[in-house]
Structure formats: C-alpha cells, structure tokens
Amino acid sequence: MSLLEIKNVSKIYGPLKALDNVNLTVENGEWLAIMGPSGSGKSTMMNIIGCMDKPSLGEVILDGVDIAKQSSKKLTEIRRDKIGLIFQQFHLVNYLTAVENVMVSQYYHSMPDEKEALEALERVGLADRAKHLPSQLSGGEQQRVCIARALINHPEIILADEPTGNLDEANENIVIDIFKQLHRQGTTLIVVTHDPEVAEVAQRTVALEHGRLVKEIINNNFEE
C-alpha cells in the first residue's frame, strides 16, 4: 500500500478551482518534488497533504486514513503524528532558542527531551548554535533548525514548502545534502518548489499548472 494516495482531488474556492481532479501516489521512502509556477495550486496541495486543509472533492489517503473525512481535531492529531513541516520562511518561535524550538515540536507530540533535541540539531550541524535565538542565526541556520524540528518526532512524511526559497546557494546545498541524507535513511520527502535545481535532485518530479498535474518526470540520474 502506498503511503499517500491522492484520488480525484479538487479544491474549489467559489468559481476558482485551485486543484482540479488531481491524482498522485507517493510511496514510502520516496523523494517527490512538486513544481509549478505561482498560482498553480502547489500551496493548496501542500496544505491538503499537510492536513491543514481538506479537499472539496476526492480522497486523500495517508497511511490508510482518508484525511478528507476527518474532523479538524483529528487532522491536528494526524499532522502532529505523521507529518514534519518545513517552511520557506522558517517560522521559528522568535523568543525560544534553537533547541527549545525543536522541543516545541516534541512538546505537542509526546514528551520534550532536550538531549534528543540536541542530537537532532547535531544531525543538521547546529550543535554549537543550540542556545541561540533565531535572531542570532543566519537564514540557512534557521532553516536547519526548522529541519531538525520537522525530524524530531520521526514523521512518516517530511513536507517542505519552498525550503530553499530564502537561502543563498551555499545554504541551499547544505539543505539539499540534508535531504539526501534523510532520503538515504528512508524518510519520505515531498518538496514543493519552483526551483528546477531543487526539483531535479528529487527521485520524481510532478508539475502542476492551473490546478492540474500536467507532467511527471522520473529522475534517471538520481543519486541514492
């Protein structure tokens, strides 16, 4: 059984179809990139996969559960237990240190464990910046804290929305390297991006246009 199955999903806002009869399957451990220009429905897709929104039509089966039929309370639980989110604008709590930001995710999931949070920061190369506030970190470092926070609860899927959108090339490479490392460890990655360079390192890329899936590219040069 696939980890994620999107079947005939549409999202309709009045006269606008943000998603139009989308079908997509993501296997366990796969690295998928979703590409598309602005207004193509990427964010809507991300919100639906991330259990922050529900489709108007169709089914979204995540780990055997149709999230389209769940209450918002249940969606919060699914998001907490199965999904790790990475955002373009990092979204760290500005008055908490790097390690505390990672622990916030643990706090809502199960039990905060500072040692484990420090290990997660170590994985993204930020062990020495653990006690720094976001304002004392560079953009790349903030994004790595965000990745550590997304990883800490061992989610089924890491869902990244334009993860390198606000980063310079050096930091973009660091983040991509971390993704590669995560993929090697068996983590399922869905990366929403408009950057072809980020998309081409993924195993598979799907392209959205006007809410429809218009293209699927398998990366034959994918490095395991």
Partner: protein, 389 residues
C-alpha cells in the same frame, strides 16, 4: 523533561524575552493592582482612622441601670473593662439630683469633668472647666435665668427628704437641708439640654447629698464601628448585672452613614479601576495575540490543539497577573500610606492577607481579560497564517 517544565519554560521565555510588549501588560496589571490594594487598605482602615475624628461628635454608648435603680462605680468599671482599653476614648458617669438655687428648682449633675472633656469635646465653655472641688459649670440657660457668670458664687441647696427620716423629723421636727457654695468656673454652651443643668464634681455631689457610689448613667466614647459597638453592647448587657448598655443611635448612625458613603465611594472607584484594568489588559493581550498570529499558526501546524493554545496564552496571562498582583500589593500599601498620611495624618496598618488577595484578584481579572484574546487565538487557521495572509 516533563511537559509542565517545558510549558513553564515556554511561558517564562515569552515573558522574559519579549519584555517590551509584556511590560505594557504588566504595567497595566500592576497599576490596577496597586490602586486595588491601596483602596482596599484604605477601605478597611477608614473606620479606624475616622473613628477618632468621629469622637468629636460625642459619646456613642450609654450605660443605665437595667432595673430602674442606680448604677455603682464597680458595675461601670466592670462594663468599661469589657471594652478593649485602646478603644475607650473617655468615660463620664453622671448623677442627677434636684437642688434649689435662690429658691428656684434646678437640676444638678455630678460628673467627672476629665471624662466629660473626652466624651463631649464639642461643649463650649465661657470661662474655665472646673478643676477642683467647690467649682461648678453652669448651663447657659440656667446662668441667664439666675444671672450667673464665671467667677460668681452660687449656693446649691439639697433637700434631704429623700433620705431616711431622722429622729427629729420623725418627731415632727424641721426637715434637713444640705447647703454648699460653689464658684462658677465657666458657663456651658451646647445648644442642648445640658444648658439647663449645673455640673459639679462627683465628690461635691456626694458631699451635697450625703450619698456616695450612686450613678444614674454613664456616657462612653468608644472608637469602634457600629458592628463592633453592637457587639460590646450585647456583651456588657449580658455580663454586668443591673447594667444596661446601649448605643447612642444619633451618633453611631451618623458615623455609619458617613463611613458607608465613604466606603461605597472607595468600592466604586475600586470597581471602576478593575474594569479599566481589564479593558487595558484585554486590549494589550489582543494586540499580543494579533502580533503572534503567525506563531499561533505555527504551533497549530506543529500539532498544538486549541486547548494547548488556550493553556499557553492563559498561562502567560495568569503569570503576568500574579507578578503584577505582587508588585501591586506592595505599591498599593505605599499608595495607601501616602493617602493616609496626607488625609488623616497617621500611618496605616499593613494587612498581610492583602498580598494573596491582591494577587488572586489580579490573576482572576487578568484571566477574565484574556478570555476574548485567547478565543481569537484558537480561531487562527495555520494554513492562512503560514502563508502570511
């Protein structure tokens, strides 16, 4: 790490690392708590402070005989002993006897002039207060009738017919009269019945009448609120045989009216201040929530339930309320002390209980003020906020 520890770590970090915003809320709570604590201190201290001022109204308690007989000094002393000595401002026993002056009947009253000066400080004297035996204080009306003034001599004649008949009287002899001369020390002006009397000392009255340790009544000036006076009255009436205590309603009611109005005013101001504090805290917290919509959205995206969001914002609000209450209870005492020194010219008593009460009220007020802002926080949609909409 326990969840509670992380919870505390988050809310203290929010307060300590976002000082500028939180200081505004804290200031609002601390000012509210200061005025609350100060006014409540004044509210409870006003009766004590005003009590002494009110004593210029005159006696507020009276002892009489409960069985139409006379009072004795020991009964009066026992009754006075039932009242906390620090509250007794003065005691003036009275004994009334009918005498004649220049063949005219006049009421003479024997009393303790030192006590009278404390129980009736409003008496106006032309001349001097009697300071020794053989001196009298003549009421203005009687002085005018008898054409007496300070420095004159007046002769009081007491008819002893009320006493057991002597052998001479029994055999048809002339009835005996006691006569004593007094120097008029002063003329009394009160605007009341006292102006009809001639006041002499208890010792002189005993000598004139040949009877001692006999009193008709005693007036007391007690520094206490009406409820406390009621309690003393019932205690004394039950405890002292043959003596009945009662309050002078005219005086105690006046005191009570003034105190009630003053306390109502203080209470009203307190309620208004609490409401203003609530509005100020609610506005600040609303601004805090609006400012942190993105953070709320993030927390929800990370899996925070509405309950968690409520706990976190309420936790911050209540912690602020507690700290503001603590600051307010200390500043409130300083405020009350300043008011007391300026208005009553005396220091105020510190009530330790006011610290937990102020903190509790501040926490409650802050909690109530946070309800609306916190509710709006739970309505934040993580998807919209994270997209920056």
């Amino acid at each position: 790490m326990k969840k509670q520890t992380m919870f505390l770590r988050m809310i203290t970090a929010s307060l300590l690392r976002r000082r500028s915003r939180m200081l505004v809320a804290l200031l609002a709570i601390a000012v509210g708590a200061t005025i609350l604590s100060g006014l409540v201190t004044i509210y409870y201290d006003v009766p004590r402070q005003m009590g002494e001022q009110f004593r210029s109204y005159g006696a507020n308690m009276i002892f009489t005989s409960s069985d139409s007989g006379k009072l004795t000094k020991s009964a009066i002393d026992k009754a006075v002993g039932s009242i906390k000595s620090s509250r007794v401002v003065g005691v003036a026993p009275y004994r009334y006897e009918s005498v004649t002056v220049f063949e005219r009947p006049v009421m003479a009253a024997g009393t303790d002039f030192e006590g009278v000066q404390k129980t009736s400080p409003y008496w106006r004297i032309s001349g001097e207060w009697p300071s020794a035996n053989g001196q009298a204080l003549v009421g203005k009306e009687t002085a005018e009738t008898l054409a007496l003034k300070a420095g004159d001599t007046v002769t009081l004649v007491y008819d002893l017919e009320g006493l057991p008949a002597t052998a001479d009287e029994a055999s048809g002899g002339e009835r005996k009269q006691n006569t004593r001369d007094f120097t008029v020390a002063g003329v009394l002006d009160t605007g009341g019945n006292e102006e009809k009397y001639i006041f002499i000392s208890i010792g002189d009255m005993d000598a004139l009448t040949g009877k001692s340790d006999v009193y008709d009544m005693a007036e007391l000036s007690v520094s206490a609120a009406q409820d406390q006076l009621k309690s003393y009255v019932s205690t004394i009436s039950a405890k002292v045989d043959g003596l009945s205590a009662r309050m002078v309603k005219r005086v105690t009611q006046s005191e009570n009216t003034v105190l009630s109005k003053l306390q109502a005013l203080v209470l009203l101001v307190t309620v208004v201040v609490l409401l203003l504090t609530m509005i100020c805290v609610a506005t600040t917290m609303m601004a805090v929530v609006t400012e942190r919509r993105r953070e709320v959205g993030l927390r929800k995206a990370l899996g925070a339930s509405n309950r968690s969001i409520i706990y976190e914002f309420m936790g911050e609000g209540l912690l602020l309320g507690g700290i503001g209450g603590l600051i307010g209870s200390v500043c409130g005492f300083i405020f009350a002390q300043a008011v007391s020194m300026n208005v009553f010219n005396s220091s105020i008593q510190f009530h330790w209980l006011l610290i937990p009460v102020t903190i509790l009220v501040s926490v409650l007020v802050t909690g109530l003020s946070c309800l609306l802002p916190v509710r709006s926080a739970t309505e934040v949609d993580p998807a919209l906020v994270l997209k920056g909409e």
